[in-house]
Symmetry: C2
Subunit: 307 residues, 2 copies
Protein backbone atom coordinates (compact mmCIF):
# COMPACT_ATOMS: atom_id res chain seq x y z
CA UNK A 1 0.00 0.00 0.00
CA UNK A 2 1.20 3.46 -0.86
CA UNK A 3 0.85 6.25 1.71
CA UNK A 4 -2.52 8.01 1.39
CA UNK A 5 -2.39 11.53 -0.06
CA UNK A 6 -5.04 12.60 2.46
CA UNK A 7 -5.96 10.89 5.72
CA UNK A 8 -9.60 11.90 5.62
CA UNK A 9 -11.62 12.90 2.59
CA UNK A 10 -15.25 14.08 2.55
CA UNK A 11 -17.35 13.85 -0.60
CA UNK A 12 -20.34 16.20 -0.60
CA UNK A 13 -22.78 15.04 -3.26
CA UNK A 14 -22.66 11.39 -4.38
CA UNK A 15 -23.18 11.42 -8.14
CA UNK A 16 -21.07 10.20 -11.05
CA UNK A 17 -17.94 12.19 -10.20
CA UNK A 18 -17.95 11.64 -6.43
CA UNK A 19 -18.61 7.92 -6.78
CA UNK A 20 -15.88 7.58 -9.40
CA UNK A 21 -13.48 9.49 -7.13
CA UNK A 22 -14.26 7.11 -4.29
CA UNK A 23 -13.49 4.02 -6.36
CA UNK A 24 -10.40 5.65 -7.88
CA UNK A 25 -9.09 6.65 -4.44
CA UNK A 26 -9.64 3.10 -3.17
CA UNK A 27 -7.90 1.66 -6.22
CA UNK A 28 -4.86 3.85 -5.59
CA UNK A 29 -4.86 3.74 -1.78
CA UNK A 30 -5.01 7.54 -1.89
CA UNK A 31 -7.28 8.25 1.09
CA UNK A 32 -7.26 6.77 4.59
CA UNK A 33 -10.94 7.22 5.23
CA UNK A 34 -13.72 8.65 3.06
CA UNK A 35 -16.99 10.07 4.34
CA UNK A 36 -19.86 10.99 2.08
CA UNK A 37 -23.08 12.95 2.12
CA UNK A 38 -25.90 13.37 -0.39
CA UNK A 39 -28.93 15.56 0.07
CA UNK A 40 -31.31 12.86 -1.11
CA UNK A 41 -32.02 10.07 1.36
CA UNK A 42 -32.44 7.65 -1.52
CA UNK A 43 -28.90 8.41 -2.70
CA UNK A 44 -27.53 7.91 0.83
CA UNK A 45 -29.34 4.57 1.07
CA UNK A 46 -27.98 3.50 -2.28
CA UNK A 47 -24.47 4.55 -1.27
CA UNK A 48 -24.68 2.50 1.92
CA UNK A 49 -26.01 -0.50 0.05
CA UNK A 50 -23.22 -0.55 -2.54
CA UNK A 51 -20.41 0.34 -0.12
CA UNK A 52 -19.81 3.77 -1.59
CA UNK A 53 -17.75 5.66 1.05
CA UNK A 54 -16.39 4.24 4.27
CA UNK A 55 -19.13 6.11 6.11
CA UNK A 56 -22.21 7.83 4.72
CA UNK A 57 -23.29 10.69 6.97
CA UNK A 58 -26.74 12.22 7.43
CA UNK A 59 -25.48 15.78 7.23
CA UNK A 60 -22.80 17.65 5.35
CA UNK A 61 -21.55 19.09 8.63
CA UNK A 62 -20.94 15.62 10.04
CA UNK A 63 -19.22 14.48 6.84
CA UNK A 64 -16.71 17.35 6.76
CA UNK A 65 -15.79 17.26 10.46
CA UNK A 66 -12.10 16.31 10.72
CA UNK A 67 -11.74 16.00 6.94
CA UNK A 68 -8.37 17.02 5.45
CA UNK A 69 -9.95 17.35 2.01
CA UNK A 70 -13.55 18.33 1.30
CA UNK A 71 -14.74 17.82 -2.28
CA UNK A 72 -17.89 19.63 -3.36
CA UNK A 73 -19.54 17.39 -5.97
CA UNK A 74 -22.94 19.08 -6.24
CA UNK A 75 -24.44 20.93 -9.23
CA UNK A 76 -22.76 24.29 -9.76
CA UNK A 77 -25.86 26.19 -8.66
CA UNK A 78 -25.83 24.48 -5.25
CA UNK A 79 -22.15 25.10 -4.43
CA UNK A 80 -22.70 28.37 -2.54
CA UNK A 81 -25.37 26.99 -0.23
CA UNK A 82 -23.29 23.91 0.56
CA UNK A 83 -20.23 26.06 1.31
CA UNK A 84 -22.26 28.19 3.69
CA UNK A 85 -23.55 25.09 5.46
CA UNK A 86 -20.20 23.38 5.96
CA UNK A 87 -18.04 26.45 6.63
CA UNK A 88 -18.42 26.44 10.44
CA UNK A 89 -17.51 22.75 10.60
CA UNK A 90 -14.31 22.76 8.55
CA UNK A 91 -11.06 21.76 10.23
CA UNK A 92 -8.31 24.39 10.28
CA UNK A 93 -5.73 23.60 7.60
CA UNK A 94 -8.21 21.56 5.51
CA UNK A 95 -8.41 21.95 1.74
CA UNK A 96 -11.77 22.60 0.08
CA UNK A 97 -12.06 21.78 -3.60
CA UNK A 98 -14.90 21.21 -6.04
CA UNK A 99 -15.48 19.42 -9.34
CA UNK A 100 -17.83 21.94 -10.98
CA UNK A 101 -17.85 22.48 -14.73
CA UNK A 102 -17.76 26.27 -14.30
CA UNK A 103 -15.08 27.96 -12.25
CA UNK A 104 -15.60 31.73 -12.01
CA UNK A 105 -19.12 31.40 -10.66
CA UNK A 106 -18.14 28.68 -8.18
CA UNK A 107 -15.21 30.73 -6.91
CA UNK A 108 -17.47 33.75 -6.40
CA UNK A 109 -20.17 31.63 -4.75
CA UNK A 110 -18.00 29.47 -2.47
CA UNK A 111 -14.97 31.67 -1.66
CA UNK A 112 -16.69 34.22 0.58
CA UNK A 113 -18.01 31.56 2.96
CA UNK A 114 -14.70 29.81 3.60
CA UNK A 115 -12.73 30.72 6.74
CA UNK A 116 -9.16 32.03 6.41
CA UNK A 117 -7.89 28.85 8.01
CA UNK A 118 -8.76 26.56 5.06
CA UNK A 119 -7.26 26.32 1.56
CA UNK A 120 -9.55 26.69 -1.43
CA UNK A 121 -8.36 24.99 -4.64
CA UNK A 122 -11.10 24.78 -7.27
CA UNK A 123 -10.79 21.94 -9.78
CA UNK A 124 -12.58 20.39 -12.72
CA UNK A 125 -12.02 16.85 -13.98
CA UNK A 126 -12.84 16.70 -17.70
CA UNK A 127 -14.43 13.30 -17.57
CA UNK A 128 -17.90 11.94 -17.37
CA UNK A 129 -20.49 9.77 -19.00
CA UNK A 130 -24.14 10.28 -19.83
CA UNK A 131 -25.11 8.39 -16.68
CA UNK A 132 -25.65 9.96 -13.28
CA UNK A 133 -26.20 9.03 -9.65
CA UNK A 134 -24.25 7.07 -6.99
CA UNK A 135 -24.28 3.84 -8.98
CA UNK A 136 -22.79 5.34 -12.14
CA UNK A 137 -19.21 5.75 -10.89
CA UNK A 138 -16.22 3.59 -11.72
CA UNK A 139 -12.53 3.71 -10.79
CA UNK A 140 -11.24 4.20 -14.34
CA UNK A 141 -13.25 7.31 -15.22
CA UNK A 142 -10.31 9.68 -14.84
CA UNK A 143 -7.60 7.52 -16.42
CA UNK A 144 -5.74 9.60 -19.02
CA UNK A 145 -8.37 12.36 -18.79
CA UNK A 146 -7.41 15.90 -17.84
CA UNK A 147 -8.16 17.56 -14.53
CA UNK A 148 -7.84 21.34 -14.50
CA UNK A 149 -6.82 23.00 -11.23
CA UNK A 150 -7.86 26.62 -10.98
CA UNK A 151 -6.05 28.04 -7.95
CA UNK A 152 -7.46 31.28 -6.60
CA UNK A 153 -5.37 34.25 -5.54
CA UNK A 154 -3.29 33.24 -2.56
CA UNK A 155 -3.84 29.48 -2.97
CA UNK A 156 -1.17 27.72 -0.91
CA UNK A 157 1.28 25.98 -3.30
CA UNK A 158 1.54 22.98 -1.01
CA UNK A 159 -2.22 22.55 -0.92
CA UNK A 160 -2.28 22.77 -4.72
CA UNK A 161 0.53 20.22 -5.03
CA UNK A 162 -1.25 17.81 -2.69
CA UNK A 163 -4.49 18.03 -4.68
CA UNK A 164 -2.51 17.52 -7.87
CA UNK A 165 -1.02 14.35 -6.37
CA UNK A 166 -4.52 13.07 -5.59
CA UNK A 167 -5.75 13.63 -9.14
CA UNK A 168 -2.62 12.10 -10.64
CA UNK A 169 -3.08 9.15 -8.31
CA UNK A 170 -6.60 8.75 -9.67
CA UNK A 171 -5.16 8.47 -13.19
CA UNK A 172 -5.65 12.03 -14.46
CA UNK A 173 -3.26 14.41 -16.18
CA UNK A 174 -3.26 17.76 -14.40
CA UNK A 175 -3.05 21.28 -15.82
CA UNK A 176 -3.47 24.63 -14.11
CA UNK A 177 -5.48 27.44 -15.65
CA UNK A 178 -7.12 30.68 -14.57
CA UNK A 179 -10.87 30.72 -14.05
CA UNK A 180 -11.89 32.91 -16.97
CA UNK A 181 -9.82 30.99 -19.50
CA UNK A 182 -11.18 27.73 -18.09
CA UNK A 183 -14.73 28.91 -18.59
CA UNK A 184 -14.05 29.93 -22.20
CA UNK A 185 -12.22 26.69 -23.06
CA UNK A 186 -15.04 24.66 -21.57
CA UNK A 187 -17.66 26.71 -23.40
CA UNK A 188 -15.96 25.48 -26.60
CA UNK A 189 -15.13 21.90 -25.69
CA UNK A 190 -18.15 21.07 -23.61
CA UNK A 191 -20.90 23.58 -22.88
CA UNK A 192 -21.77 24.68 -26.42
CA UNK A 193 -21.55 21.11 -27.80
CA UNK A 194 -23.95 19.98 -25.09
CA UNK A 195 -26.41 22.77 -25.83
CA UNK A 196 -26.30 22.01 -29.53
CA UNK A 197 -26.84 18.32 -28.92
CA UNK A 198 -29.79 19.06 -26.64
CA UNK A 199 -31.22 21.35 -29.32
CA UNK A 200 -30.85 18.83 -32.15
CA UNK A 201 -32.51 16.11 -30.09
CA UNK A 202 -35.30 18.48 -29.10
CA UNK A 203 -35.93 19.44 -32.73
CA UNK A 204 -36.14 15.79 -33.79
CA UNK A 205 -38.57 15.09 -30.97
CA UNK A 206 -40.74 18.07 -31.92
CA UNK A 207 -41.28 17.56 -35.62
CA UNK A 208 -44.75 16.54 -36.60
CA UNK A 209 -43.81 15.26 -40.05
CA UNK A 210 -41.16 12.83 -38.82
CA UNK A 211 -42.29 10.58 -35.97
CA UNK A 212 -40.28 9.76 -32.86
CA UNK A 213 -40.30 6.16 -33.92
CA UNK A 214 -38.65 7.08 -37.23
CA UNK A 215 -36.09 9.21 -35.42
CA UNK A 216 -35.27 6.29 -33.15
CA UNK A 217 -35.19 3.57 -35.81
CA UNK A 218 -33.03 5.53 -38.19
CA UNK A 219 -30.76 7.17 -35.63
CA UNK A 220 -27.61 5.25 -36.60
CA UNK A 221 -27.18 7.61 -39.56
CA UNK A 222 -25.59 10.18 -37.24
CA UNK A 223 -28.27 11.43 -34.88
CA UNK A 224 -27.64 8.86 -32.14
CA UNK A 225 -24.21 10.37 -31.44
CA UNK A 226 -25.98 13.53 -30.26
CA UNK A 227 -28.39 11.71 -28.01
CA UNK A 228 -25.64 10.48 -25.71
CA UNK A 229 -24.61 13.86 -24.40
CA UNK A 230 -28.22 15.07 -24.59
CA UNK A 231 -29.01 12.36 -22.00
CA UNK A 232 -26.75 13.99 -19.39
CA UNK A 233 -28.05 15.17 -16.03
CA UNK A 234 -30.57 18.04 -16.57
CA UNK A 235 -29.92 19.81 -13.26
CA UNK A 236 -26.17 19.84 -13.69
CA UNK A 237 -26.48 21.22 -17.20
CA UNK A 238 -29.11 23.82 -16.38
CA UNK A 239 -26.69 25.19 -13.79
CA UNK A 240 -23.75 25.11 -16.20
CA UNK A 241 -25.54 27.31 -18.72
CA UNK A 242 -26.90 29.70 -16.10
CA UNK A 243 -23.47 30.16 -14.52
CA UNK A 244 -21.27 30.20 -17.62
CA UNK A 245 -23.65 32.46 -19.48
CA UNK A 246 -21.21 34.94 -21.05
CA UNK A 247 -18.74 32.45 -22.51
CA UNK A 248 -21.50 30.14 -23.72
CA UNK A 249 -23.35 32.99 -25.43
CA UNK A 250 -20.11 34.16 -27.04
CA UNK A 251 -19.35 30.72 -28.51
CA UNK A 252 -22.98 30.24 -29.52
CA UNK A 253 -22.74 33.52 -31.41
CA UNK A 254 -19.68 32.26 -33.27
CA UNK A 255 -21.44 28.97 -33.92
CA UNK A 256 -24.55 30.51 -35.46
CA UNK A 257 -22.42 32.86 -37.57
CA UNK A 258 -20.55 29.89 -38.96
CA UNK A 259 -23.70 27.82 -39.39
CA UNK A 260 -25.31 30.63 -41.37
CA UNK A 261 -22.27 30.77 -43.65
CA UNK A 262 -22.57 27.04 -44.36
CA UNK A 263 -26.34 27.36 -44.77
CA UNK A 264 -25.73 30.09 -47.33
CA UNK A 265 -23.24 27.85 -49.15
CA UNK A 266 -25.90 25.14 -49.33
CA UNK A 267 -28.52 27.58 -50.57
CA UNK A 268 -26.25 29.06 -53.23
CA UNK A 269 -24.76 25.67 -54.19
CA UNK A 270 -21.21 26.62 -53.24
CA UNK A 271 -19.75 23.10 -53.15
CA UNK A 272 -16.15 24.28 -52.91
CA UNK A 273 -16.82 26.12 -49.66
CA UNK A 274 -18.46 23.02 -48.19
CA UNK A 275 -15.76 20.64 -49.36
CA UNK A 276 -12.97 22.82 -48.05
CA UNK A 277 -14.70 23.20 -44.68
CA UNK A 278 -15.34 19.47 -44.33
CA UNK A 279 -11.75 18.65 -45.20
CA UNK A 280 -10.40 20.95 -42.51
CA UNK A 281 -12.53 19.45 -39.76
CA UNK A 282 -11.02 15.99 -40.35
CA UNK A 283 -7.68 17.19 -39.00
CA UNK A 284 -9.03 17.93 -35.54
CA UNK A 285 -10.31 14.37 -35.23
CA UNK A 286 -6.87 13.04 -36.11
CA UNK A 287 -5.31 15.28 -33.45
CA UNK A 288 -7.70 13.99 -30.79
CA UNK A 289 -6.92 10.37 -31.61
CA UNK A 290 -3.17 11.01 -31.65
CA UNK A 291 -3.46 12.75 -28.27
CA UNK A 292 -5.07 9.60 -26.82
CA UNK A 293 -8.36 11.41 -26.14
CA UNK A 294 -10.54 9.16 -28.29
CA UNK A 295 -10.50 5.82 -30.02
CA UNK A 296 -9.72 5.35 -33.71
CA UNK A 297 -12.11 2.39 -33.88
CA UNK A 298 -15.05 3.00 -36.27
CA UNK A 299 -18.19 4.32 -34.53
CA UNK A 300 -16.22 4.68 -31.26
CA UNK A 301 -15.93 0.87 -31.29
CA UNK A 302 -19.47 0.72 -29.93
CA UNK A 303 -21.09 -2.68 -29.80
CA UNK A 304 -24.78 -2.58 -30.43
CA UNK A 305 -26.75 -5.61 -29.27
CA UNK A 306 -28.10 -7.73 -32.10
CA UNK A 307 -31.86 -7.84 -32.12
CA UNK B 1 -24.00 -22.75 -48.82
CA UNK B 2 -27.30 -21.03 -49.37
CA UNK B 3 -28.42 -20.19 -52.91
CA UNK B 4 -27.11 -16.79 -54.00
CA UNK B 5 -29.74 -14.03 -54.23
CA UNK B 6 -28.03 -12.76 -57.39
CA UNK B 7 -25.67 -14.65 -59.67
CA UNK B 8 -23.64 -11.62 -60.67
CA UNK B 9 -23.32 -8.35 -58.79
CA UNK B 10 -21.40 -5.25 -59.93
CA UNK B 11 -20.26 -2.66 -57.40
CA UNK B 12 -19.56 0.74 -58.95
CA UNK B 13 -17.46 2.77 -56.54
CA UNK B 14 -15.39 0.93 -53.93
CA UNK B 15 -15.67 2.92 -50.72
CA UNK B 16 -16.96 2.08 -47.25
CA UNK B 17 -20.43 0.91 -48.31
CA UNK B 18 -19.40 -1.08 -51.39
CA UNK B 19 -16.57 -2.82 -49.58
CA UNK B 20 -18.82 -3.65 -46.63
CA UNK B 21 -21.43 -5.01 -49.05
CA UNK B 22 -18.82 -7.23 -50.66
CA UNK B 23 -17.75 -8.76 -47.35
CA UNK B 24 -21.36 -9.07 -46.17
CA UNK B 25 -22.37 -10.81 -49.41
CA UNK B 26 -19.45 -13.21 -49.08
CA UNK B 27 -20.33 -13.90 -45.45
CA UNK B 28 -23.88 -14.79 -46.42
CA UNK B 29 -23.17 -16.54 -49.73
CA UNK B 30 -25.54 -14.03 -51.34
CA UNK B 31 -23.79 -13.43 -54.67
CA UNK B 32 -22.23 -15.85 -57.10
CA UNK B 33 -19.68 -13.49 -58.52
CA UNK B 34 -18.92 -9.85 -57.72
CA UNK B 35 -17.20 -7.41 -60.04
CA UNK B 36 -16.07 -3.98 -58.96
CA UNK B 37 -14.94 -0.69 -60.42
CA UNK B 38 -13.56 2.49 -58.88
CA UNK B 39 -12.67 5.63 -60.78
CA UNK B 40 -9.37 5.99 -58.97
CA UNK B 41 -6.60 3.67 -60.07
CA UNK B 42 -5.21 3.68 -56.55
CA UNK B 43 -8.54 2.38 -55.21
CA UNK B 44 -8.60 -0.36 -57.86
CA UNK B 45 -5.06 -1.38 -56.93
CA UNK B 46 -5.97 -1.46 -53.26
CA UNK B 47 -9.06 -3.53 -53.99
CA UNK B 48 -7.00 -6.05 -55.95
CA UNK B 49 -4.40 -6.23 -53.21
CA UNK B 50 -6.91 -6.95 -50.42
CA UNK B 51 -9.12 -9.29 -52.46
CA UNK B 52 -12.05 -6.90 -52.56
CA UNK B 53 -14.35 -8.22 -55.36
CA UNK B 54 -13.88 -11.39 -57.33
CA UNK B 55 -12.73 -9.26 -60.25
CA UNK B 56 -11.80 -5.58 -60.32
CA UNK B 57 -12.47 -4.08 -63.74
CA UNK B 58 -10.84 -1.09 -65.41
CA UNK B 59 -14.11 0.40 -66.59
CA UNK B 60 -17.65 0.64 -65.27
CA UNK B 61 -18.94 -0.71 -68.58
CA UNK B 62 -16.88 -3.87 -68.19
CA UNK B 63 -17.98 -4.30 -64.57
CA UNK B 64 -21.72 -4.12 -65.32
CA UNK B 65 -21.69 -6.40 -68.37
CA UNK B 66 -23.77 -9.50 -67.55
CA UNK B 67 -24.50 -8.26 -64.01
CA UNK B 68 -27.90 -9.16 -62.54
CA UNK B 69 -27.55 -6.43 -59.94
CA UNK B 70 -25.65 -3.18 -60.36
CA UNK B 71 -25.07 -1.14 -57.20
CA UNK B 72 -24.09 2.50 -57.60
CA UNK B 73 -21.87 3.32 -54.61
CA UNK B 74 -20.48 6.69 -55.70
CA UNK B 75 -21.10 10.11 -54.15
CA UNK B 76 -24.62 11.35 -54.86
CA UNK B 77 -23.36 14.07 -57.20
CA UNK B 78 -21.69 11.49 -59.43
CA UNK B 79 -24.67 9.14 -59.81
CA UNK B 80 -26.06 10.69 -63.00
CA UNK B 81 -22.77 10.56 -64.89
CA UNK B 82 -22.19 6.95 -63.88
CA UNK B 83 -25.72 5.98 -64.94
CA UNK B 84 -25.18 7.58 -68.33
CA UNK B 85 -21.90 5.70 -68.76
CA UNK B 86 -23.19 2.25 -67.86
CA UNK B 87 -26.66 2.47 -69.43
CA UNK B 88 -25.71 1.04 -72.86
CA UNK B 89 -23.96 -1.92 -71.21
CA UNK B 90 -26.70 -3.08 -68.85
CA UNK B 91 -28.14 -6.55 -69.31
CA UNK B 92 -31.88 -6.71 -70.02
CA UNK B 93 -33.73 -7.69 -66.85
CA UNK B 94 -30.97 -6.47 -64.57
CA UNK B 95 -31.73 -4.44 -61.44
CA UNK B 96 -29.96 -1.14 -60.85
CA UNK B 97 -29.85 0.15 -57.29
CA UNK B 98 -27.79 2.71 -55.39
CA UNK B 99 -26.79 3.43 -51.81
CA UNK B 100 -26.97 7.22 -51.88
CA UNK B 101 -27.97 9.22 -48.80
CA UNK B 102 -30.40 11.34 -50.83
CA UNK B 103 -33.13 9.76 -52.92
CA UNK B 104 -35.17 12.35 -54.87
CA UNK B 105 -32.11 13.82 -56.53
CA UNK B 106 -30.64 10.41 -57.35
CA UNK B 107 -33.90 9.23 -58.87
CA UNK B 108 -34.08 12.35 -61.02
CA UNK B 109 -30.43 12.05 -62.04
CA UNK B 110 -30.25 8.32 -62.71
CA UNK B 111 -33.75 7.36 -63.86
CA UNK B 112 -33.78 9.07 -67.26
CA UNK B 113 -30.64 7.24 -68.42
CA UNK B 114 -31.84 3.73 -67.64
CA UNK B 115 -33.35 1.65 -70.46
CA UNK B 116 -36.89 0.29 -70.09
CA UNK B 117 -35.48 -3.20 -69.90
CA UNK B 118 -33.89 -2.78 -66.45
CA UNK B 119 -35.45 -2.38 -63.00
CA UNK B 120 -34.52 0.64 -60.93
CA UNK B 121 -34.86 0.21 -57.14
CA UNK B 122 -33.15 3.01 -55.21
CA UNK B 123 -31.99 2.14 -51.69
CA UNK B 124 -30.16 3.64 -48.74
CA UNK B 125 -28.50 1.62 -45.98
CA UNK B 126 -28.44 3.69 -42.78
CA UNK B 127 -25.04 2.55 -41.68
CA UNK B 128 -21.56 3.89 -41.87
CA UNK B 129 -18.50 4.91 -39.97
CA UNK B 130 -16.28 7.97 -40.07
CA UNK B 131 -13.78 6.04 -42.19
CA UNK B 132 -13.80 5.86 -45.98
CA UNK B 133 -12.15 4.06 -48.88
CA UNK B 134 -11.88 0.42 -50.01
CA UNK B 135 -10.09 -0.69 -46.85
CA UNK B 136 -12.73 0.64 -44.47
CA UNK B 137 -15.43 -1.97 -45.12
CA UNK B 138 -16.37 -4.90 -42.90
CA UNK B 139 -19.03 -7.61 -43.12
CA UNK B 140 -20.91 -6.59 -39.96
CA UNK B 141 -21.60 -2.97 -40.93
CA UNK B 142 -25.26 -3.57 -41.77
CA UNK B 143 -26.13 -5.98 -38.95
CA UNK B 144 -29.32 -4.76 -37.27
CA UNK B 145 -29.13 -1.44 -39.14
CA UNK B 146 -31.98 -0.27 -41.35
CA UNK B 147 -31.91 -0.20 -45.12
CA UNK B 148 -34.59 1.92 -46.76
CA UNK B 149 -35.86 0.88 -50.17
CA UNK B 150 -37.40 3.69 -52.19
CA UNK B 151 -39.15 2.05 -55.16
CA UNK B 152 -39.96 4.40 -58.03
CA UNK B 153 -43.24 4.45 -59.90
CA UNK B 154 -43.59 1.16 -61.73
CA UNK B 155 -40.83 -0.66 -59.81
CA UNK B 156 -41.31 -4.38 -60.35
CA UNK B 157 -42.42 -6.00 -57.04
CA UNK B 158 -40.26 -9.04 -57.70
CA UNK B 159 -37.18 -6.92 -58.27
CA UNK B 160 -37.93 -5.07 -55.03
CA UNK B 161 -38.41 -8.34 -53.13
CA UNK B 162 -35.12 -9.71 -54.45
CA UNK B 163 -33.21 -6.61 -53.37
CA UNK B 164 -34.91 -6.81 -49.97
CA UNK B 165 -33.70 -10.41 -49.64
CA UNK B 166 -30.14 -9.28 -50.39
CA UNK B 167 -30.21 -6.57 -47.71
CA UNK B 168 -31.79 -8.88 -45.17
CA UNK B 169 -29.13 -11.45 -46.01
CA UNK B 170 -26.50 -8.81 -45.27
CA UNK B 171 -28.00 -8.39 -41.78
CA UNK B 172 -30.17 -5.32 -42.32
CA UNK B 173 -33.78 -4.62 -41.43
CA UNK B 174 -35.64 -3.30 -44.46
CA UNK B 175 -38.33 -0.63 -44.71
CA UNK B 176 -39.90 0.98 -47.77
CA UNK B 177 -40.51 4.71 -48.01
CA UNK B 178 -41.20 7.31 -50.66
CA UNK B 179 -38.36 9.53 -51.78
CA UNK B 180 -39.54 12.84 -50.35
CA UNK B 181 -40.27 11.42 -46.93
CA UNK B 182 -36.91 9.65 -46.98
CA UNK B 183 -35.12 12.91 -47.68
CA UNK B 184 -36.92 14.67 -44.83
CA UNK B 185 -36.32 11.84 -42.32
CA UNK B 186 -32.65 11.76 -43.26
CA UNK B 187 -32.37 15.53 -42.99
CA UNK B 188 -33.38 15.08 -39.34
CA UNK B 189 -31.51 11.92 -38.42
CA UNK B 190 -28.37 12.43 -40.44
CA UNK B 191 -27.84 15.46 -42.64
CA UNK B 192 -28.52 18.27 -40.17
CA UNK B 193 -26.62 16.50 -37.35
CA UNK B 194 -23.64 16.17 -39.66
CA UNK B 195 -23.75 19.83 -40.67
CA UNK B 196 -23.98 20.91 -37.04
CA UNK B 197 -21.08 18.68 -36.07
CA UNK B 198 -18.99 20.07 -38.92
CA UNK B 199 -19.87 23.59 -37.81
CA UNK B 200 -19.01 23.03 -34.16
CA UNK B 201 -15.66 21.51 -35.06
CA UNK B 202 -14.96 24.36 -37.47
CA UNK B 203 -15.75 26.95 -34.80
CA UNK B 204 -13.42 25.29 -32.30
CA UNK B 205 -10.67 25.20 -34.91
CA UNK B 206 -11.15 28.87 -35.75
CA UNK B 207 -11.08 30.52 -32.36
CA UNK B 208 -8.00 32.56 -31.66
CA UNK B 209 -8.48 32.68 -27.89
CA UNK B 210 -8.65 28.92 -27.45
CA UNK B 211 -5.86 27.00 -29.16
CA UNK B 212 -6.25 23.81 -31.19
CA UNK B 213 -4.08 22.05 -28.67
CA UNK B 214 -6.50 23.02 -25.87
CA UNK B 215 -9.46 21.88 -27.97
CA UNK B 216 -7.76 18.53 -28.54
CA UNK B 217 -6.53 17.96 -24.99
CA UNK B 218 -9.83 18.81 -23.37
CA UNK B 219 -12.12 17.24 -25.95
CA UNK B 220 -13.37 14.43 -23.69
CA UNK B 221 -15.74 16.91 -22.04
CA UNK B 222 -18.18 16.46 -24.94
CA UNK B 223 -16.59 17.94 -28.04
CA UNK B 224 -14.92 14.73 -29.22
CA UNK B 225 -18.33 13.14 -29.90
CA UNK B 226 -18.84 15.74 -32.63
CA UNK B 227 -15.47 15.18 -34.24
CA UNK B 228 -16.32 11.63 -35.24
CA UNK B 229 -19.04 12.49 -37.70
CA UNK B 230 -17.19 15.65 -38.71
CA UNK B 231 -14.41 13.35 -39.94
CA UNK B 232 -16.66 11.77 -42.56
CA UNK B 233 -15.88 11.88 -46.26
CA UNK B 234 -15.97 15.52 -47.50
CA UNK B 235 -17.04 14.75 -51.07
CA UNK B 236 -19.90 12.52 -50.03
CA UNK B 237 -21.18 15.13 -47.60
CA UNK B 238 -20.78 18.09 -49.94
CA UNK B 239 -23.00 16.22 -52.39
CA UNK B 240 -25.56 15.33 -49.72
CA UNK B 241 -26.09 18.97 -48.79
CA UNK B 242 -26.18 20.18 -52.38
CA UNK B 243 -28.73 17.55 -53.37
CA UNK B 244 -30.93 17.51 -50.25
CA UNK B 245 -30.98 21.28 -50.04
CA UNK B 246 -34.65 21.93 -49.30
CA UNK B 247 -35.13 19.42 -46.49
CA UNK B 248 -31.79 20.30 -44.90
CA UNK B 249 -32.58 24.02 -44.98
CA UNK B 250 -36.00 23.36 -43.48
CA UNK B 251 -34.60 21.37 -40.56
CA UNK B 252 -31.78 23.87 -40.10
CA UNK B 253 -34.42 26.58 -39.81
CA UNK B 254 -36.19 24.63 -37.09
CA UNK B 255 -32.86 24.01 -35.40
CA UNK B 256 -31.83 27.66 -35.25
CA UNK B 257 -35.30 28.67 -34.05
CA UNK B 258 -35.01 26.20 -31.18
CA UNK B 259 -31.41 27.16 -30.47
CA UNK B 260 -32.38 30.82 -30.22
CA UNK B 261 -35.13 29.94 -27.74
CA UNK B 262 -32.61 28.11 -25.54
CA UNK B 263 -30.09 30.94 -25.99
CA UNK B 264 -32.75 33.36 -24.80
CA UNK B 265 -33.49 31.15 -21.78
CA UNK B 266 -29.79 31.27 -20.90
CA UNK B 267 -29.65 35.03 -21.34
CA UNK B 268 -32.75 35.65 -19.23
CA UNK B 269 -31.83 32.99 -16.65
CA UNK B 270 -34.89 30.84 -17.30
CA UNK B 271 -33.69 27.68 -15.57
CA UNK B 272 -37.07 25.97 -15.66
CA UNK B 273 -37.20 26.12 -19.45
CA UNK B 274 -33.71 24.61 -19.70
CA UNK B 275 -34.38 21.90 -17.13
CA UNK B 276 -37.62 20.86 -18.75
CA UNK B 277 -36.01 20.75 -22.19
CA UNK B 278 -33.03 18.69 -20.97
CA UNK B 279 -35.31 16.23 -19.22
CA UNK B 280 -37.34 15.60 -22.35
CA UNK B 281 -34.29 14.85 -24.50
CA UNK B 282 -33.28 11.98 -22.20
CA UNK B 283 -36.29 9.97 -23.34
CA UNK B 284 -35.17 9.79 -26.95
CA UNK B 285 -31.86 8.28 -25.88
CA UNK B 286 -33.69 5.61 -23.91
CA UNK B 287 -35.84 4.81 -26.96
CA UNK B 288 -32.76 4.40 -29.16
CA UNK B 289 -31.12 2.01 -26.73
CA UNK B 290 -34.31 -0.02 -26.31
CA UNK B 291 -34.63 -0.24 -30.10
CA UNK B 292 -31.15 -1.77 -30.29
CA UNK B 293 -29.78 1.18 -32.25
CA UNK B 294 -27.08 2.16 -29.75
CA UNK B 295 -25.23 0.80 -26.77
CA UNK B 296 -26.16 1.61 -23.17
CA UNK B 297 -22.50 1.40 -22.14
CA UNK B 298 -21.16 4.73 -20.81
CA UNK B 299 -19.38 6.83 -23.46
CA UNK B 300 -20.48 4.34 -26.17
CA UNK B 301 -18.22 1.81 -24.41
CA UNK B 302 -15.28 3.43 -26.18
CA UNK B 303 -11.85 2.30 -25.12
CA UNK B 304 -9.29 5.04 -25.23
CA UNK B 305 -5.67 3.90 -25.28
CA UNK B 306 -3.79 4.70 -22.11
CA UNK B 307 -0.93 7.09 -22.76
Amino acid sequence: MSTPVYNRVALIGLGLIASSMFWAMKRGGLAGDVTGFAKSEASRDTARRIGLCDRVCDSAAEAVADADLVVLCVPVGAMGAVAKEIAPHLKAGATVTDVGSVKRDVIDAVGPYLPESVHFVPAHPLAGTEHSGPESGFAELFDNRWCLLVPVEGSDPEAVAQLRALWEGMGANVDEMDADHHDLVLAVTSHTPHLIAYTMVGVADDLRRVTDSEVIKYSAAGFRDFTRIAASDPTMWRDVFLTNKDATLEILGRFTEELFALQRAIRTGDGDHLHEYFTRTREIRRGIIEAGQDTAAPNFGREVPKS
